[in-house]
């Protein structure tokens, strides 16, 4: 009798487990991407970089780096944009005239409305740009706007100093035009002009978008888009494998082989994002030119790119990639030469006196504090690779791979080399990188690098309008920082997105700004 009761109970438990299992399966199907759900097309996008750590807590373009999220996910658009050759072309603007050194006249495109319903005219754009320079220090410094006047569809911008790259700066993600009168919600949602409208947003979690029924440049094909923040590469891999998401940005390179088949599509292109190290000139170690030269000679860029990035990039010589006239091979840097690096250190007096494999000079050990951060998957790999190659030369590399890097890098006593990944020509113009990283006035010059020659060249560039002359100045400026080994540029990134085979219109762009566009579709 007891056995019968036990058997009955066991069957009951199994039934409950089975029913529960089926129930959860059904739920997972419902929450997963379906492509076509109740006659509506849905699309789920997984991204490792849409998070507060990257300065993208929301989609308000006037907040830190959130403009990237605003433009990438199809909410905001800028007055000008880059084409596939990284040349400027009008977007929300129709034309532009450089009246004089200080004055720009921009005519806006007709027939565009914000998702709030308000028509986009010169007054609306003026309000947006005024709010931008009020709230975004980098934009204010870039644009140097003295006055904006709005008349119907014509916007006149007067700058306080000559700003030759003004149009380029207006194509930066912070330049997304949104309806300031409609405001910014508590979640950080704005009403832009893009093909999609954000309806909900939870920082570091997800954002829901619906199509903009009144989009000016065609009809968006997806009814509902979910952008999920998936910071962990393995979770992203499994999410795409399981069908929970339709496409992914930031997939670990080790996972690529899983998707190299007919069920998935890769879209890749070379970008101006570069992995580079900035030396700390206040450190007793990296203030020594010989040490900086040895570091530049001691990093195996080829090995890093070919093996650790799986060929998804190419070794960098200077600041800019091959696809701009002032980038690629126009400059040369120290090549990987461990023996040469040892000699440089020996000649400078860095000698291993106690036989522990680490060089010393005047009682100071050759310890290199390598500061970097984990949200870019390549950086910990570069750090560990350099730890080994520099270790062979006589360095002891101490890696601090932390999400708290932005606070630590402002303390020049806490690091010797800060390695980050930056888009060096986000505006297609060379001035940006130097302005923000290398000059006395640069907000990101945390290593306090100074060069009189570089300051002179920067001043000259600031008043040069001719593109060819600017390119020539950019080349000279790169030579200065490379001669000083103030920065070591390791590799440029080939950016990839992976999607299911039934996804179309998701195309990688060299500027890394445009991902979800009106062309996106799912079959």
């Amino acid at each position: 009798m007891k056995k019968k009761i036990m058997s009955g109970l066991l069957i009951l438990v199994l039934l409950i487990v089975g029913i529960t299992g089926c129930g959860s399966q059904q739920r997972s199907d419902e929450t997963g991407s379906s492509g076509d759900e109740e006659g509506q097309k849905t699309f789920v996008f997984g991204d490792t970089t849409f998070n507060a750590e990257n300065g993208e807590p929301d989609i308000n373009p006037h907040n830190d780096n959130s403009g990237w999220a605003c433009i990438r996910y199809g909410v905001g658009e800028t007055l000008f944009r880059f084409n596939d050759e990284m040349e400027m072309e009008p977007w929300l603007a129709e034309s532009c005239e450089n009246v004089d050194e200080y004055t720009w006249k921009i005519v806006l495109r007709e027939g565009i409305s914000f998702t709030s319903g308000r028509v986009m005219d010169a007054e609306a754009v003026k309000e947006c740009l005024e709010d931008l320079v009020k709230n975004h220090p980098r934009a204010a410094e870039n644009l140097s706007i003295a006055e904006i006047t709005a008349e119907d569809m014509t916007l006149t911008i007067r700058t306080s100093i000559p700003v030759p790259a003004l149009i380029n700066y207006l194509a930066d993600p912070y330049g997304c035009i949104y309806d300031v009168q409609a405001g910014v919600t508590e979640e950080g949602i704005v009403q832009g002009t893009g093909p999609y409208r954000a309806v909900s947003l939870t920082t570091d979690s997800e954002m829901e978008l619906v199509k903009n029924e009144n989009y000016w440049n065609g009809e968006p094909k997806i009814d509902k888009i979910t952008v999920r923040t998936i910071s962990d590469g393995d979770t992203l891999t499994m999410a795409l494998q399981s069908g929970e998401i339709d496409a992914a940005y930031g997939m670990p390179y080790a996972s690529y082989p899983l998707f190299e088949n007919d069920n998935y599509t890769f879209t890749s292109c070379e970008t101006s994002r570069v992995f580079f190290g900035a030396m700390n000139f206040e450190s007793p170690v990296t203030s020594d030119p010989a040490v900086r030269k040895a570091i530049a000679m001691g990093i195996d860029k080829e090995g890093f790119v070919e093996t650790l990035l799986g060929g998804n990039g190419y070794p960098a010589a200077g600041v800019y990639p091959d696809n701009v006239s002032f980038g690629g091979d126009v400059v040369s840097a120290e090549s990987y030469d461990p023996e040469g690096a040892k000699q440089v250190l020996e000649e400078a007096g860095w000698v291993d006196t106690d036989g522990d494999g680490i060089r010393e000079k005047d009682g100071t050990s050759l310890v290199l504090r390598w500061l970097t951060y984990p949200s870019r998957q390549e950086q910990p790999l570069l750090a560990e690779s350099a730890q080994a190659t520099l270790g062979e030369i006589g360095f002891q590399v101490e890696i601090n791979n932390t999400a708290d890097h932005n606070r630590i890098r402002t303390d020049s006593d806490a690091w010797d080399i800060y390695v980050s990944a930056m888009v060096t020509a986000p505006t297609g113009d060379p001035e940006y990188f130097f302005k923000y990283h290398c000059l006395d006035s640069s907000s990101n010059n945390d290593g306090h690098y100074h060069s009189d020659r570089l300051e002179e060249l920067a001043q000259e560039m600031a008043k040069t309008f001719d593109a060819d002359k600017r390119a020539e100045l950019a080349i000279q400026m790169q030579k200065v920082i490379l001669d000083d080994n103030a920065y070591v540029f390791c590799s440029h990134l080939r950016m990839s997105m992976i999607s299911k085979a039934n996804v179309t219109g998701l195309t990688a762009h060299p500027c890394d700004y445009y991902e979800i566009t009106v062309d996106l579709d799912i079959e």
């Binding site: 393995d234 082989p257 090995g303 080994a388």
Partner: protein
């Protein structure tokens, strides 16, 4: 009569089996410790030496456990990892056993305010989820294996304090303890000569069973980036580094994982067997048999 003989034989063979198991597991653990102790000498390659030309090679004759993404020999790294993982767990268990037991015995023997204060502190420590508390401490200490051990020690000692206190309270009223006190022993002598030796068995068994757990917890902290730092080979951090390759290059994750599995299983089996061996019922049977 026959039934009694059968029972006695069964118990005797059971005791013999425990003894056999104890010997086998002790030998295996000793071998593991020797392996960990001499791991650097046994490594076929330098565990930190990178060689991109042979990155992610599958297990083969040249590299029995394959290579990782930097071209480092996995067998060498697993061997060196054994040294760090096992000995850091042993040090941790030794520290918490010694510290926790002394605190617990002192509190139990002295009683009164000291007992109340120590027990309330241990209550506070036990009120937090152990690993989460250890994570917070390790993060404050800025990671590293040493700091992971300190963090885990800070949250794990109360278990031993409570155990030794309860054991002390149980033996404190025994006649032989009263007699020792009347003989003029000081409190320190009482604790060291008469109480600790009588409660050590239970504490040692608990410590033995904890080695596996602590090894897992150190590996967990390293997996989360708060333990060993690169290029140190430690099983938890090796698994963390290779976790994105589980589907594509599984040996990078599985080899340190198997190392953890075997070590934890061996220490747990030894602990279990030791507990069985020291079980008073089995010991009584041994006395009777002799």
């Amino acid at each position: 009569m026959i039934e009694r003989v059968k029972n006695r034989l069964r118990k005797r063979s059971g005791k013999n089996r425990i003894k056999q198991r104890l010997i086998i597991f002790s030998v295996l653990v000793a071998l593991l410790l020797l392996l960990a102790l001499f791991s650097e000498k046994l490594c076929p390659y330098d565990p930190a030496q990178q060689n991109f030309a042979i990155a992610l090679e599958p297990p083969g004759p040249a590299h029995l456990f394959g290579t990782d993404r930097y071209g480092r020999d996995m067998l060498s790294r697993v061997l060196v990892g054994a040294h760090i993982s096992i000995f850091s767990a042993l040090i941790l268990v030794a520290v918490i056993t010694a510290a926790g037991s002394l605190i617990g015995v002192a509190a139990g023997y002295a009683g009164g305010k000291l007992d109340a204060v120590v027990m309330r502190i241990s209550d506070i420590c036990l009120a937090f989820p152990g690993l989460i508390f250890a994570l917070a401490i390790a993060a404050v200490l800025n990671g590293g294996v040493e700091n992971a051990v300190i963090a885990l020690a800070a949250v794990s000692w109360p278990k031993y304090a409570r155990l030794s206190r309860s054991q002390t309270l149980a033996v404190k009223q025994s006649d032989y303890i009263q007699a020792a006190r009347l003989a003029g022993n000081t409190p320190v002598q009482m604790i060291l000569r008469h109480i600790l030796p009588n409660i050590m068995g239970q504490i040692l068994v608990t410590a033995m069973l904890d080695i596996g757990t602590m090894m897992m917890e150190i590996a967990a902290l390293s997996f989360l980036g708060l333990g060993a730092k690169p290029p140190t080979a430690e099983w938890g951090s090796m698994m963390s580094e290779g976790r994105s390759m589980l589907q594509t290059y599984p040996w990078v994750v599985l080899t340190p994982g198997i190392g953890i599995f075997i070590s934890v299983a061996l220490f747990n089996l030894l602990g279990d067997t030791l507990r069985d061996y020291m079980d008073p019922r089995n010991r009584r049977e041994t006395v009777k048999n002799s």
